[in-house]
């Protein structure tokens, strides 16, 4: 069902997009071909796609897991920033360490950074009932400020013309995903994580617990589950995923820390999680699709000479159409919880 809806959404998006392209005096077929071939046509395209897909995928997991409890984590940006910051701080100390130790230390530090940051919002939620949508969103700005302070203050490289950190030692650099590719091996860990979480949530008792807590917190307490502990644990895990994205960006792509290293991966993750209906595996596929769209758009612009704004509008239309058509199950889950007391019995 979902698959059918997504295909229909995509078709609608392409149709609406055609209108945009025609308005911009473009050749519809050529534009779409450039988009597709640019992203998935050759190794070059795939390489670029995987680089972008990794942080989006991890950020989408950070959204998908809390969604299982009908909680919304919009704090991917901030959690990624904190992950990157922690990984950089630790990574800079790893001059002498072996690559295995150095990378492991950065990865763990990044996860902890993201988990701690997400836990602030979770703690406010369980202690004071602060709406997690607001708190996670606002904490993104705080994280951006902290990051800005760090890279222009204590972490700023000596003699740097503008705020960025020193380059990390080689020992912390992630190996390539394939021999000779630019994409780093972190993508494998991200995909592995998505598959594992998919299994855990669909097959495991963990998924059942999440369902019970999301559908009926009172029943959860009655059967010995703690909604509080579930919220804290899930947010910590979600934050760790996003933090991991930040760490990978630093030790796999940028090799140093600067203000804008987060890109907009946190928000892309929200879209991917919605596209994937909060299913980790589906979110992973959606992340690769979104990354493909970004890479393809660049290629499309180069090949057809269409203006940047048209390309961005086209991206927006595609994402919007598919999100609307695919996000129904997620919306329904949240909606169901909101109006549960009023639901009528049959007969």
């Amino acid at each position: 069902m979902t698959a059918v809806r997504i295909v229909m959404g995509l078709a609608l998006a392409l149709f609406l997009g055609s209108g945009l392209i025609l308005l911009g005096d473009g050749n519809v077929l050529a534009v779409y071909q450039a988009l597709l071939v640019g992203a998935f046509g050759d190794q070059h395209g795939w390489d670029a796609v995987l680089i972008k897909a990794c942080p989006i995928l991890l950020a989408s997991l950070a959204v998908a897991l809390p969604l299982r409890l009908a909680l919304f984590n919009l704090g991917g940006e901030g959690q990624i920033a904190m992950g990157g910051l922690f990984a950089t701080v630790v990574g800079l100390q790893m001059e002498q360490a072996s690559p295995v130790v150095a990378i492991a230390a950065c990865v763990i530090a990044g996860s902890i950074g993201g988990a701690l940051w997400a836990s602030i919002a979770a703690a406010m939620k369980v202690m004071r009932g602060v709406n997690e949508v607001i708190s996670t969103l606002l904490l993104n700005y705080v994280a951006a400020a902290v990051l800005s302070w760090a890279v222009s203050g204590p972490l700023m490289a000596p003699d740097a013309p503008y705020p960025y950190s020193q380059e990390l030692p080689d020992s912390t650099w992630l190996p390539s995903a394939f021999e000779g590719w630019g994409a780093h091996a972190g993508i494998w860990l991200a995909i592995g994580l998505a598959v594992t979480l998919q299994w855990v949530y669909s097959q495991g008792s963990v998924g059942m617990s999440a369902r019970i807590v999301a559908m009926s917190p009172q029943t959860a307490r009655y059967s010995g589950l703690s909604p509080t502990r579930q919220t804290l644990g899930t947010f910590a895990l979600a934050g760790a995923c996003a933090g991991l994205a930040g760490a990978f960006e630093v030790i796999g792509v940028k090799y140093q820390l600067f203000q804008s290293f987060v890109g907009s991966f946190g928000y892309d993750g929200v879209i991917a999680a919605m596209l994937g209906a909060a299913q980790p595996a589906a979110a992973a596929v959606a992340s690769i699709f979104l990354a493909g769209l970004k890479v393809g758009a660049n290629a499309m612009q180069r090949a057809t000479g269409l203006s940047v704004s048209l390309v961005e509008a086209l991206q927006g239309v595609i994402i919007l159409c598919i999100t609307i058509s695919a996000a129904f199950p997620v919306i329904r889950l949240t909606w169901l919880r909101l109006r549960q007391p009023q639901l009528k019995e049959a007969v």
Binding site: Q203, G204, S205, I212, S216, R221, Y222, G224, E345, V347
Partner: protein, 513 residues
């Protein structure tokens, strides 16, 4: 001389199908001006479906409605309202945060401009006086008791000049002393020329006010007659059909084993008040093995706190609480269950069950994380859970389409059987039951009581909290009366005869209130 009053609303050969299931099968019903018409039936007999058709919530698959002799078709509830047909639902449909006047004003005026609230409140007060309802038009609904809310709903219908009033199980939310005034008010409404429909499964109430009776069973009208001369036993048999007659009424009068060690002990237990829950002000109560101890009282006197603190859902601020002599105040819900505690909560829908999960999953709420239902890695054994669900459905007569059907779609009685099956299998030695028969019909009520008696025979101690005094008198060895968070007295059921016990409990309830 025998001129029957005018028919206000008539259903002719009304049929409602859900798939191949006939919820209503060629039902005929004539509601006359000036009459109280009681519609009786067990859960799932098709009463709600029939009423939903009358108020336009459900379209019939066959047959039609006539209003004052003319055929009408209701596309939605709005049409029924226009036709001056109104319903008071079992659970209040008012907006809690608004005042009484606001609620009446809702949906009343269309278009721009201010709603004349002052005029409205004066009108409401006038109607209220006429029927002896005491209602403050400016009170916020959330501060009103269920009984008061019900009166507001009736007022709202009267203000809209409804001629046909339908009330769904109106007494189920009322305290015992509120029942009679309501029934009298309904009588007055009918005497004023309105047509009142009373949906219920409580025969005693029907006898008091009804003029006519319609009994539904399995979607069909099995009996339709004037109340005069009707026999309660006949009606009961009509409602439940042949199944119920095979079994004796109760099993309370058998030989009993002597009671054993205390399994549940409250010693000066205090629990703080919480949202919508009255506090406990120091309760001493002991339940021994093989004993059923009842807790009687008007709802809202601490019943919820009494059950919740034992189950581990709310903390004890003072006093001691023990299971088998072991202090459980600091123990988790799970550990308490391991000590043999079973809890059948009052609120099936939001505490006892997860309505969106399947029957099979709901049966495993407490142990799905353990083997054999989950592997060492935590993988759920779905096949095993489903198979166990099917077995339990067989063993406990849970009627559902399949073990994977969502609990939401089952009738109240079958939902409660899921809870019973889950809580009472295994080694339950201390059982807390809160209002287990609320909203249940005779057969389901009997199933609940049979299950409790079976547990008692196996040596469990049962704490039976209920506002249904008759049930307590039937089932319990001893009844404690809870009032304002304290036990104000205990009555031994075995020593007294039933009427004496009843009177004594009534005194205790009244004395402290």
């Amino acid at each position: 001389m025998n001129v029957l009053p005018m028919i206000r609303l008539e259903a002719k050969d009304l049929t409602v199908k859900y798939g191949d299931f006939l919820a209503n099968d060629r039902v005929n019903l004539a509601l006359r001006a000036g009459e109280v018409h009681a519609v009786l039936g067990e859960n799932g007999a098709g009463k709600s479906t029939l009423m939903n058709v009358l108020i336009g919530l459900q379209q019939p698959s066959g047959g039609h409605l006539e209003r004052d002799g003319r055929e009408v078709r209701f596309a939605g509830p709005q049409d029924a309202t226009t036709a001056r047909i109104g319903m008071v639902h079992q659970h209040s449909m008012l907006v809690e945060q608004l005042s009484v006047v606001d609620n009446v004003a809702l949906g009343l005026e269309r278009g721009l401009g201010r709603v004349p609230l002052k005029r409205l409140s004066a009108e409401l007060s006038a109607i209220a006086d006429q029927y002896g309802f005491e209602v403050d038009p400016w009170a916020e609904v959330s501060t009103l008791s269920p009984g008061e809310r019900q009166r507001v709903e009736i007022l709202k219908l009267l203000h809209r000049q409804a001629e046909v009033l339908i009330l769904d199980e109106p007494t189920s939310v009322l305290a015992p002393q509120e029942v009679r005034p309501l029934l009298h008010a309904l009588r007055r409404l009918a005497d004023g020329g309105r047509s009142v429909v009373l949906i219920t499964h409580k025969l005693a109430e029907v006898a008091e006010v009804a003029d006519c009776i319609t009994v539904l069973r399995a979607g069909r009208v099995v009996l339709q007659r004037p109340m005069q001369g009707a026999d309660a036993t006949e009606l009961a048999h009509c409602m439940v059909g042949s199944e119920a007659q095979a079994k004796p009424q109760t099993e309370g009068s058998e030989i009993r084993v002597p009671f054993g060690e205390p399994v549940i002990a409250y010693e000066g237990v205090k629990v703080a008040a919480a949202a919508g829950r009255a506090p406990l002000e120091g309760v001493d109560l002991t339940v021994r093995a093989g004993e059923i101890v009842g807790v009687a009282g008007v709802d809202g006197n601490g019943q919820q706190a009494l059950a919740d603190c034992l189950a581990g859902l709310s903390s004890v601020t003072q006093g001691r609480l023990a299971l088998h002599g072991q202090d459980v105040r600091k123990l988790s819900v799970r550990v308490r269950r391991q000590l043999g505690l079973a809890y059948i909560p009052e609120d099936r829908h939001h505490t006892g069950l997860v309505l969106d999960l399947s029957v099979a999953d709901n049966l495993r709420l407490h142990d799905y994380r353990r083997r054999p239902w989950a592997s060492l890695l935590g993988r759920l054994n779905r096949k095993g859970i489903l198979a166990a669900g099917r077995e339990a459905m067989q063993a406990h007569d849970i009627r559902a389409r399949s073990a994977s059907q969502q609990a939401r779609w089952l009738s109240g009685g079958n939902q409660q059987k899921i809870v019973l099956a889950r809580e009472l299998t295994g080694a339950a030695r201390a059982i807390v039951v809160s209002q287990p028969c609320k909203g249940l019909d005779l057969l389901s009520t009997r199933a609940v009581h049979d299950a409790l008696q079976a547990q008692r025979r196996k040596g469990a101690g049962v704490l039976y909290i209920s506002t249904e005094l008759e049930h307590l008198l039937d089932q319990c060895d001893r009844i404690a009366v809870l009032s304002r968070g304290r036990i104000v007295g205990e009555v031994h059921c075995t020593g007294h005869n039933r009427a004496d016990a009843h009177a004594r409990i009534g005194e205790l309830m009244a004395g402290a209130k």
